[in-house]
């Protein structure tokens, strides 16, 4: 049974801070730091934005673009590592806000930066098995980076929603596979505000090992090579890793750049690959084949082989809901404003 993408939507906060501004505060070399990471600015959520609001906006765009009514969505899964509640599902609030309640299943997913693609796979399974017609998979994060830590240059915010189904498809998902191990490259303990990471250990034995293995497994399973794909989307913790892993797999930079958003908006964690996919779907034409490999610390990769079909031409993919429009609709802020918006300033008795 063919399963695929019925619709999609994205949300990127309007505020940005430059890597140079962050570097200046922490005594680093401002012009050098952006080049080293390949991240020149990152998105910053406003004080009234969180994973719930970003997920709702992305999901509403996906619903508006589709012929599917809210009460036809049978599952809402939200992948994130920054759910506002430790106990109380983001997915239930999103389901209420898109009119999908009460006859559906909903849950929050967590697998570092690949929780959004794990949600996609779950929806594929439920739709493919015939248990339901439509499932909404969302990757959303307002990620945390400790002040002065390397993560602070990239940890950003965004969301993308993918409506999975078997009717009204704009793209088919030919195959998916995963590669999972126990790898302590990045983690956040219960109750801790900021995550910790293994520095350089996050590279070769973590990001590269998992993406390379999973990506090769996918191409082997569907008998393809890098040349068969118009676009390739990889998890993007910075602007450099995706280009390097693409090269190792045999992809060219021009296949990667349309879905590479980290240089402009940073690492949106669970939203990174779904947002990259949304950016590519915004410009894709029928027949385009898309290679997608997510990565989540801890660690694992999910890969997808996607082919765009004719119906994408009848979807409105322009205007303010396009990913490129959201990236360009920005307001630069300084570090003091960023610190205020991200709750890094302790207020005297006032709540945010």
């Amino acid at each position: 049974m063919v399963v695929g993408i019925v619709s999609y939507g994205a949300c990127i906060p309007r505020y940005r801070i430059s890597s140079e501004d962050i570097a200046r505060v922490w005594g680093q070399n401002p012009p050098l730091i952006g080049k080293q990471l390949g991240v020149f600015s990152k998105s910053v959520p406003s004080s009234d934005e969180d994973v719930v609001t970003l997920a709702v906006e992305a999901a509403r765009t996906a619903m508006r673009r589709s012929p599917v009514a809210g009460d036809m969505v049978n599952a809402v899964y939200v992948g994130s590592e920054s759910h506002p509640y430790a106990v109380k599902p983001t997915a239930g609030i999103v389901a209420e806000a898109i009119g999908a309640t009460p006859n559906l299943t909903a849950a929050d997913f967590e697998f570092a930066c690949k929780a959004g693609t794990a949600a996609m796979q779950s929806c594929m399974g439920l739709v493919g098995s015939g248990m339901m017609d439509y499932g909404m998979a969302i990757g959303a994060d307002t990620s945390q980076g400790a002040p002065g830590d390397a993560l602070e240059y990239s940890a950003s915010a965004g969301a993308a929603a993918i409506l999975v189904g078997k009717k009204n498809l704009i793209a088919t998902i030919e195959h998916t596979c995963s590669y999972t191990t126990d790898t302590p490259d990045f983690w956040r303990r219960e109750g801790q505000i900021y995550p910790q990471h293994g520095g350089r250990f996050t590279g070769a034995p973590a990001y590269f090992k998992h993406i390379l293995a999973c990506g090769r497994d996918l191409m082997k399973a569907v008998s393809t090579g890098p040349g068969d794909y118009k676009y390739a989307i990889f998890h993007q913790p910075n602007g450099k890793f995706p280009l390097r892993v693409a090269e190792e797999l045999g992809f060219k930079p021009e296949q990667v750049r349309p879905g590479l958003l980290a240089p402009e908006i940073g690492n949106t964690y669970s939203a990174a690959v779904p947002l990259g996919l949304a950016a590519v779907l915004d410009i894709a034409v029928p027949g385009d084949r898309i290679f997608v490999t997510a990565y989540g610390s801890g660690a694992g990769s999910d890969a997808f082989d996607i082919t765009v079909v004719e119906a994408i031409n009848s979807m409105d993919r322009t205007g303010p809901s396009a990913v490129r429009s959201m990236i360009e609709r920005k307001v630069m802020i300084d570090y003091a404003t960023y610190a205020k918006l991200r709750g890094k300033i302790t207020m005297g008795g006032a709540s945010r």
Binding site: R14, S46, S47, V52, T53, V56, A97, L341, S351
Partner: protein, 135 residues
Amino acid sequence: MSGLAGVRFWRETKSRYNLTGNRCGVCGTVFFPPRPVCTRCHRESIGRMEEHKLKGTGEVLTWTFVHEPRPGFEIQVPYILAMVRLDEGPALLAQMVDCGPGEVRIGTRVHSVFRKIGEEGKSGVIYYGYKFVPD
């Protein structure tokens, strides 16, 4: 610790999340928030008020900068409150976000967005609902 404060807000979730008002089945007037009886048709409208989801689009009737915030809004000062006339007719008071001085005028076209409205402190319920941004 128990907290029933969230329940009061929860009762209005449908309206606050999805701008759900109602429409008089007699004269067609749309209300937000929903009213039990039409203000024009009075008892004729009893039992004929229909749920009506508003599109969330409209224009600014008037607006102001708030410099003395309500508790919980200190970090957003100065913020913009606007009276928005929705395209279906009702006017409502709401916060304008993602915009600054010069971006809001009387007549500015706006649309609703889903944002955090407030919270019962750091350990309590979070309230979500509509705010508006310029088109």
